[in-house]
Structures are given as structure tokens and as C-alpha cells.
Amino acid sequence: MALVELRNVSKIYQLGGEEIRALDDVSLDIESGEFISIIGPSGSGKSTLMHILGCLDSPSKGTICLDGVMIQDASARQLAAIRNRKIGFVFQFFNLLPKLNVTQNVELPMIYSGIGSAERKKRALAALESVDLVNRAKHRPSQLSGGQQQRVAIARALVNDPKIIFADEPTGNLDSHTGDAILTLFRRLSQSGRTIVLVTHDPEIAAVTPRRIEIRDGKIAVKVDLTLAGLAGGRRNPDGAEPPKPA
């Protein structure tokens, strides 16, 4: 069973009688350990898809199974626990709490999983070490550069050892050099076995991932699968989309 199984998921907004299909009948599997990018133009529904995958939002139609749990049946409290334990988010605007220092920001998810303060400190330091920011542990987010802030956000996403990490335009607010550093960090994490979903509108960034999914108008348009399983044609194709045409 795949880590994430999305089946016929739609997200429909009603705006003044008009129906906006932010996601339109999307089916998708994500295996444990994969490094996937979701690419598409602005307004195509990438963020919507990521929010639904990350249990921040609920679909209008369809089912999601994450790590064996049927999300659409879960209670609000269970969803919060799933976000807490199994999912890590990295956002375009970093989304650190400005009143807390770096360590406290990284500790935040562990507070909601009820981990004791000594253990929290230890794990936060370890996570900061993995993004090479131990020396900034006591600083406020406002005292850090954008790239450093994003690394803190990544440390926060990692700290509860989640099953999957979602990153929405993680380099969107950074210059290309700093962006590259962040991408390198993601690649390294992927190599160490993390499951990562990277949302971007930039094909160059998407190129770093073995598997790419392109979305247009809420639908999956193109899939590129360079993983062994994909190349061997062994992957199920739940949405029945056309296999990519050789360029």
C-alpha cells in the first residue's frame, strides 16, 4: 500500500453561484521515500492539492488514505494529531512565529505532541544541526536571513520525524543561490530516506526530482516518472493519465 493514496479528489469552491474547481477529479499515489515535485502555473491548484494531502484542508469529493488512515473519516482532533506526527510543512513565507526564538520555533510541534522539555531541547538541537543552524539557536526569526529562516522551518518540519514533508514554493522567496542551497538540503534529506513533496511553478526546480506531476486547471496533465518503478512501468496508474510522450 502506498503511503498516500488519493482517489478522485475534487475541491470545489462556490463563489457567487459560480463553481470553481480548484481540483478536479485527481488521483495519485505517493510511495514512501519518494521525492516528487508538483508543478503548474499560478492558480492551477498546486497549493490546494498540497493542503489536502497535508490534512490542512478537506476535499469536496473523493478519498484520501494517508499511512493507512482514511482522512475523510478522521475527527478534527485526529487530523491535528496526524499533522503533528506524520506531516511536516515548509511554506514559501517560512511561517515562523516572530515572538519565539529559533529553538522555540523548532520545538513548537513537540509541544503539541506533549514531549517533555529536556527531550524537546535535545531534538530541536539535533534538527537545527541537520540544517546547520545550531549557532543561531537563540536568535529571533527577524534576525535571520530568508535562507536561514527557511532552514529553521525545515528543521521544524523534521523535528517530529514525520512520514512525509510538504514544501510549497520553498524557494519562492529566496534568491537563486540561496534557493539552490535549500534544494540541495531537500535532496540530501531525500537521499537519507525522507518522503518529500515539492510544490513549485519553476520547471528548473522540478527537474531535481525523479518524479514530476504537472497540474493544469485542477487536473493532472502530465506525469514524468524517472524512478525505477516508473520506468519499469510497474507503477499503477490510478488516474489513467497518458504516459509521458518522449520529448
Binding site: 493507512g68 494529531a81 506524520k86 511554506f91 511561517n95 509541544i111
Partner: protein
């Protein structure tokens, strides 16, 4: 493989408890981050709590004073019998209504065992003069020696009038300190206490010898103020003018009248009942008598039965009061041949009045304090709503890393309660200042009393207000959709 990763409820509860400490710390730093606006918000609670405590303290003070006064006039076991108008259906018998006479006293002594003491009284509207001055005491009565105990009087100098004085109708009297103060001057003025034993005073022109003087009655508060003034006077270096110096308007100046009950008691002159009857029978006043019956006409006098202004009696215990009253009623009905020209007055009426007054005062005070607490609560709610709309993004972030609705709810509620608690504590401190200020503005005999219970009640109210004010903002925050919260700029 995964359901067990989702927390079971017990663990959630445990986590919530562990988080509470973190949330309190976070709440305090949030309040600290907005010091000024938090303080303004607390002001409402401070006012509410301090006015609640101050009100309650003042009412407690008054209650204590009133209870002291009640005991000073003889407690609840005392019953007063007075003459009264005949009821309408007995009006035609008015010429036979003799009022309360000494015969009633003898009859009660014989046949009403539940009555332990009987004190007849004849009142005279008199003025007394001596030492070149004249004074109209509040009470000038002919009584039996038992009036001493009945009126809770204490002889400080000399003696009470005795049986022999009464039998022989001697011209002797016992006075209270107010009479002495008026005729010879108070100790504060004269520098030493004058004890006019053996002096002669003229009561409506008739000379009487003073054989005794009561102690000075005062409320506890009066006593304290007086002693303090005395102490201050002693500590003050005396200028060469020395003893005769009039300390006039100063702290120790002329004795204030203080509580009326005590003043009334001090302003008493007692003479033997028989003396009153022999010397003043034509001038006596019969309280409680209405038209149609002229006491000066001497209807009582003509029958030869000495008529009383009132009759005070004491019963064995308050518990037996209804039975005792019934007994007295039976005896008097038979001696008065069924004519209902008398009435009972118990102190219970007064005690009840005190209680009604106290509960009214508490109610209105509580209402005012309640309203200001309510306003304080609205202030807290307002500031919490403002605070969460500033922190939509923060709430979204917290939810995205796994905060549940309960976590957010508790966080906002804790903040609101913290503001209320801080306000409540400050209000309790402020209430002491407020009480001190109020009692310095308008000094009364009844110093306000701040009780621990009042403080606890006021504090719990402030916590309650914090909870109530926090619930709505907390629900609003907890319900925020994380996506909208994250998209919010």
C-alpha cells in the same frame, strides 16, 4: 499500523495538562508584550474587584456597629410593652383603657414564670440643670433598680438607686456621662474626669442628689479613636500653656456624638420610680398614646394606679420568646379586661431591620460591583478579539504544526483568565487603598472590615469573568480554518 499513532484521549488530556504550564508562560509573555493595553484592560477588573471588596467591607463595618448597638440596648431577650391606641372595634371602651400600670407588673411577677425580669418605667420630659447650665437628657425616667441590668447599664462611680430609695421616694438620681459632659464639661475639655457624685441637680426645678454615674458607653471604633487621640496627646510635647490648653478641633477635640444608640444611652437620668410618681405624676409622658386620651388629665392618677410609660421585660431565652409573649399577653388581657391597649415591641424587629438593611446594601453594592466587573469582562473580551484577529496567522501556523482546536481554545482562554487574575490580584490590593481612602474621607464609627471571604469571593468573580469573557474569543480562534489563517496577510 497507524491508528495507534493517533493519541488516545487519556494521553491527550495528559498532554494538555503538561501544555498548560507552557501556555501560561506564553500567555504571560503575550500580556507583557502588550503591557499598556493589557493594563488598561485590567483596569476594569481592578475597579470591579476593588469596589466589590470596598462595598462589602463598609457594609460589614456597619453591620458590626449595628449589632454592637443592638447588644448595648439589651439584646434580643428584651421585650418592651407600650400603650397603644385601641383597635377600631374597641374604641367605645376607651374611657376604661387604663394603659399599663404597676398592677400589670405585679400580675406578671406572680403569674408569668417565663419572664425573668420586669422593669417598669415612667418617663418625664425633663430638663436638668446644675453648675449654671441646663440640659435636656434623652431619657429621664423613674425606674426600679432592675433597670440597671435591663438596660445593660454599668455603674462606674457611686451606686445605682436601690429598693430603699424607691420605697422612701428619695430625691436621688443616677446619671450618664452625657449629662455630666453637658453640665460640667467632658474630660477632653476639662483635662480631668469630673465625677459629680453628691452634687445636686435640679430636675424641672426639683433638687436631686447624684448618687451614681454610669460608665461611658461607646462603640469599639469610638473607643479606639479616643484612645488613639489620648495617646497622641500624651506623646505631644506640651507647650508651656499646659493642661488648660483647648485641643478644640484637633484629633482629641470634643467627644463626637458617635453612634446614636450609645449617645442615647449616655444621655440617661434615672430616678426611683416612686419618686417619679410622687413628684411628677402630672407631667409624665405616656409614649404611644394617641388622641382621645390625655395623660395630663390624670385618668391613671384618678384611679390611684400608677401608670407607666412603658414596661420592659426580659425572657429566659430567645428560643422561648413566642411562648413567653403568649404568657404575657394572657396575663395582660386578663388584667386589662380584654381591652387591647398595649403592644409588644421586640428587638427582633430591629435585628430584622439590620439584616434587611445589610442585605439591601450588599445587594446594591454587589450590583454596582457586578456591573463594573461586567464592563471589565467586556473589556477583556474586546481585547482578546482584537488579539486573535492580530494573530490569525500565528494560529494558522500553530494548527499546521499540529495544534488541535482544544489547544488553541485553551491557549486563548488561559490568556484571558491570566488578565483577569492579574486584574483581580491588583484589585484586591487596590481595595485596601480604596477602603483607607473612603474611611479617611468620611470617618464613621463603623470601620470597614475586609474579610478573607470577601477577598476570595471577589477573586473568584474576577476569574469567572475572565473565563466567561475568554470563551467566545477562544471558540472563535479555535474554529479558524488553518488554510484561511495561513493565507491571511
Amino acid at each position: 499500523m497507524s491508528k495507534d499513532h493517533i493519541q488516545p484521549p487519556a494521553e491527550v488530556l495528559l498532554n494538555t495538562r503538561a501544555q498548560l504550564g507552557i501556555m501560561v508562560v506564553a500567555g504571560v509573555s503575550e500580556i507583557w508584550a502588550h503591557k499598556f493595553r493589557s493594563m488598561l484592560t485590567m483596569l476594569g477588573i481592578i475597579l470591579g474587584v476593588s469596589s466589590l471588596v470596598a462595598m462589602s467591607a463598609m457594609v460589614s463595618g456597619m453591620e458590626k456597629g449595628a449589632k454592637e448597638a443592638l447588644i448595648a440596648i439589651g439584646g434580643l431577650e428584651k421585650v418592651r410593652i407600650e400603650s397603644q391606641d385601641l383597635p377600631v372595634y374597641q374604641r367605645h371602651l376607651s374611657d376604661q383603657a387604663v394603659g399599663i400600670t404597676i398592677n400589670d407588673v405585679y400580675a406578671l411577677q406572680r403569674t408569668a414564670p417565663l419572664v425573668t425580669k420586669l422593669s417598669p418605667e415612667m418617663r418625664l420630659p425633663a430638663s436638668v440643670s446644675a453648675n449654671g447650665k441646663t440640659f435636656r437628657p434623652w431619657v429621664c425616667s423613674g425606674v426600679w433598680p432592675v433597670a440597671l441590668e435591663m438596660g445593660e447599664h454599668v455603674i462606674e462611680h457611686g451606686r445605682m438607686i436601690n429598693e430603699l430609695d424607691d420605697e422612701m421616694a428619695r430625691n436621688v438620681c443616677v446619671i450618664g456621662t452625657a449629662t455630666r459632659d453637658e453640665l460640667w464639661g467632658p474630660p477632653e475639655k476639662t483635662g480631668k474626669e469630673i465625677i459629680p457624685l453628691g452634687e445636686t441637680i435640679y430636675m424641672n426645678g426639683t433638687p436631686f442628689t447624684i448618687v451614681g454615674m454610669f460608665k461611658h458607653y461607646e462603640s469599639e471604633q469610638e473607643r479606639k479613636t479616643r484612645e488613639l487621640a489620648k495617646l497622641q496627646a500624651q506623646l505631644q510635647p506640651q507647650p508651656s500653656g499646659g493642661v488648660s490648653r483647648d485641643r478644640g478641633h484637633g484629633g482629641g477635640g470634643g467627644r463626637r456624638r458617635g453612634n446614636f444608640v450609645f449617645y442615647l444611652k449616655n444621655s440617661t437620668v434615672y430616678i426611683p420610680l416612686n419618686t417619679m410618681w410622687m413628684k411628677f405624676r402630672s407631667g409624665m409622658s405616656f409614649t404611644g398614646f394617641g388622641g382621645g386620651f390625655q395623660p395630663t388629665g390624670g385618668a391613671g392618677g384618678s384611679t390611684g394606679d400608677p401608670r407607666l410609660s412603658s414596661l420592659e421585660l426580659r425572657v429566659q431565652s430567645v428560643d422561648l420568646l413566642p411562648e413567653s409573649l403568649q404568657q404575657v399577653q394572657n396575663v395582660l388581657t386578663s388584667t386589662h379586661k380584654g381591652i387591647e391597649d398595649f403592644t409588644f415591641r421586640t428587638q427582633e424587629d430591629w435585628a430584622e431591620q439590620i439584616n434587611t438593611f445589610v442585605s439591601n446594601a450588599r445587594l446594591s453594592g454587589g450590583l454596582i460591583a457586578g456591573i463594573s466587573l461586567l464592563v471589565g469582562g467586556i473589556g477583556i473580551m474586546n481585547i482578546m478579539l482584537a488579539s486573535i484577529s492580530e494573530r490569525v496567522r500565528e494560529i494558522g501556523i500553530r494548527k499546521s504544526v499540529g495544534a488541535s482546536t482544544v489547544d488553541i481554545f485553551v491557549q486563548i482562554l488561559v490568556e484571558s483568565v491570566l488578565i483577569a487574575i492579574m486584574g483581580g490580584l491588583a484589585g484586591m490590593v487596590a481595595s485596601f487603598g480604596l477602603v483607607a481612602m473612603l474611611s479617611s474621607f468620611s470617618p464613621t464609627d463603623n470601620a470597614p472590615i475586609i474579610t478573607v471571604a470577601t477577598l476570595l469571593v471577589a477573586f473568584s468573580f474576577s476569574v469567572l469573568v475572565g473565563i466567561l469573557a475568554g470563551i467566545f474569543p477562544a471558540i472563535k480562534a479555535a474554529r479558524l480554518n488553518p488554510i484561511q489563517a495561513l493565507r491571511y496577510e
